[in-house]
């Protein structure tokens, strides 16, 4: 009893410290995180749906899921590149990173539209 209450107290403390640490994150990174959560959630919904109705238009399923996954991956890449604390990309201007992100997204959605039919 005493042990489990101590565990839940620890978890709460951990959660609090995570939240306070995250509150310090710049707004633009928060927006990217929100976008990633949206993409992953859409992908999960589709995976559940294919489990229910079967994989008949398999190409449509793949393109739907891969568009979400691709979006999430590209958004994470953008997040790594525009993060100020990331010393590896300190020479790369954030405008350049965003331009790369847009270009990759255009290519991704072109492919998705082709494969969706």
């Amino acid at each position: 009893m005493g042990k489990s209450s101590a565990t839940s107290k620890d978890a709460q403390a951990l959660f609090h410290s995570l939240r306070s640490a995250y509150a310090a994150t710049p707004t633009n990174l928060k927006i990217i995180d929100l976008y990633v959560i949206f993409a992953v959630a859409t992908a999960l919904i589709q995976v559940v749906y294919v489990g229910l109705v079967g994989s008949f238009p398999f190409n449509s399923f793949l393109s739907g899921v891969l568009s979400c996954v691709g979006t999430a991956v590209l958004a994470v890449c953008l997040r790594i590149q525009v993060n100020k604390e990331n010393k590896e990309f300190k020479d790369l201007p954030p405008e350049r990173a965003f331009a790369d992100f847009v270009l990759c997204n255009l290519v991704l959605h072109l492919v998705i539209m082709n494969f969706l039919g």
């Binding site: 633009n28 008949f56 449509s60 393109s63 979400c68 998705i112």
Partner: protein, 435 residues
């Protein structure tokens, strides 16, 4: 002058030349008859006359005639060959075993009759056709149960046999009532040869031995294993008849009355004439010859023949099959003609329906497999010439724009794709203007 005589001879020969065997008229016309001696012409006259009255042109020659030749300038002068020369050790002229086999290999018909004096040459011809005569040259077929009753007790070598092959196309539709009289040597069929068939087989009590000697060893050929008369239809539809008895064709046995031992019925006339006549009709392609014409295929609902089909197409295939009746092509009616849609193995095998006027028709669905297919009909039935048709046809997959679109089940995937696109648009605006 010489030119003129050649011209006249050609003109005179012309009707004979054009009447010979052709796909349009499969019955043989010109027959070479080889005899041991010319007295056979009168002793077997009923058989020869029946052939002549059916329109055959018989050319009688002695087996050792030095001018014998089956072909002239690479063209065969005869459509069929009757070998009534069992004792000929070698033929005259250019005729030999190889020439006779070439003759059959090029689609011509042969009747071979042997007797107790059968020479090695005749035995070799038979052996090439899958028929092995008893190796003991003095042996004849003896049957102490189903022999033909005669005034004298005899040695039971005149056999009354009624073990016919059950085939209307080979022996005619009329039943042969009287037994067939047979006096000669027996043979066995080579089990490796699938084309040779027994037409008249010995009864279960028959055996092959020398009737003058006491039987010391068990005979090599016994029972219904013995074949008395056999036929071969080669893969090129050449037909060969092999009989162990020359007397089978003789006037004497045609006309003689017959009573089978153990039976009280006495027939005024043996079954030989009917048996031999019907069999010769079959051998000389007056019966059982099929042809297939007008092979057509098209998509259901269209009439022209496409160069290619798509997977899952519905198609119709039709063919006309006729049987030669000796004078005209009659519709062939059967319920077992099957079409194969074939690529390495049959993907579709379907029985065709007939309209009883010779037209066979079937509609099939192209399988869900693409590649180069064939329409195939392999029709092999006892007594009929084999039909083997094949026609190549490619089958292609769906074109890119032939797939189904906007499937209801896939709407969530479409929605997800478009919503990520919209999400990307909104994200870009929010991200750029959030300062």
């Amino acid at each position: 002058m010489a030119n003129l005589s050649i011209y006249i001879v050609t003109l005179l020969l012309f009707p004979i030349l054009i009447a010979s065997f052709s796909p349009e008229n499969p019955t043989d016309r010109r027959i070479l008859v080889l005899l041991d001696d010319l007295s056979l012409r009168s002793s077997h006259s009923i058989f020869f006359n029946s052939l002549q009255s059916r329109g055959f042109h018989l050319d009688f020659k002695l087996a050792d005639d030095p001018t014998l030749s089956l072909q002239r300038y690479g063209q065969y002068s005869y459509d069929a060959l009757i070998l009534f020369s069992p004792s000929a050790e070698r033929f005259g002229g250019s005729l030999d075993l190889a020439a006779i086999l070439d003759f059959a290999d090029s689609g011509h018909d042969v009747i071979v009759a042997a007797d107790e004096n059968a020479s090695d040459l005749i035995r070799n011809i038979a052996a090439e056709c899958g028929v092995d005569f008893d190796e003991d040259s003095s042996a004849v077929v003896i049957d102490h149960i189903s022999y033909a009753v005669s005034e004298t007790e005899g040695d039971h070598t005149l056999i009354a046999s009624d073990d016919f092959i059950k085939s209307d196309v080979i022996l005619g539709s009329a039943k042969i009532e009287a037994p067939v009289l047979f006096k000669g040597i027996g043979h066995s069929l080579n089990p490796a040869n699938s084309l040779v068939l027994k037409v008249l087989s010995g009864s279960s009590s028959a055996y092959s031995a020398n009737p003058k000697l006491k039987l010391s060893n068990p005979p090599a050929l016994t029972g219904s294993y013995i074949s008395l008369v056999s036929i071969v239809q080669a893969r090129n539809n050449a037909r060969i008849l092999i009989s162990g008895s020359l007397d089978l064709f003789s006037d004497k046995l045609f006309r003689s009355s017959v009573q089978k031992a153990g039976s009280s019925t006495r027939y005024g006339k043996s079954g030989n004439e009917q048996f031999v006549t019907e069999l010769s009709k079959w051998v000389f392609h007056e019966r059982g010859h099929l042809k297939a014409v007008n092979v057509k295929h098209n998509k259901v609902g269209q009439s022209e023949e496409p160069a290619m089909y798509r997977i899952n197409d519905e198609l119709e295939y039709s063919v006309e099959i006729y049987e030669w009746s000796g004078t005209s092509w009659e519709p062939y009616v059967a319920n077992d003609v099957q079409l194969q849609f074939y690529m390495m193995s049959p993907y579709v095998l379907k029985t065709m329906s007939t309209d009883l006027k010779g037209l066979y028709h079937v509609s099939i669905k192209v399988p869900d497999v693409y590649g180069v297919f064939q329409f195939k009909i392999e029709y092999q039935r006892l007594g009929y010439t084999s039909l083997s048709l094949s026609k190549q046809i490619p089958v292609r997959p769906f074109r890119h724009n032939e797939y189904e679109r906007f499937i209801t089940t896939a709407f969530p995937y479409y929605g997800a794709s478009f919503s990520t696109m919209a999400g990307f648009f909104i994200f870009s605006i929010v991200y750029l203007y959030n300062k």
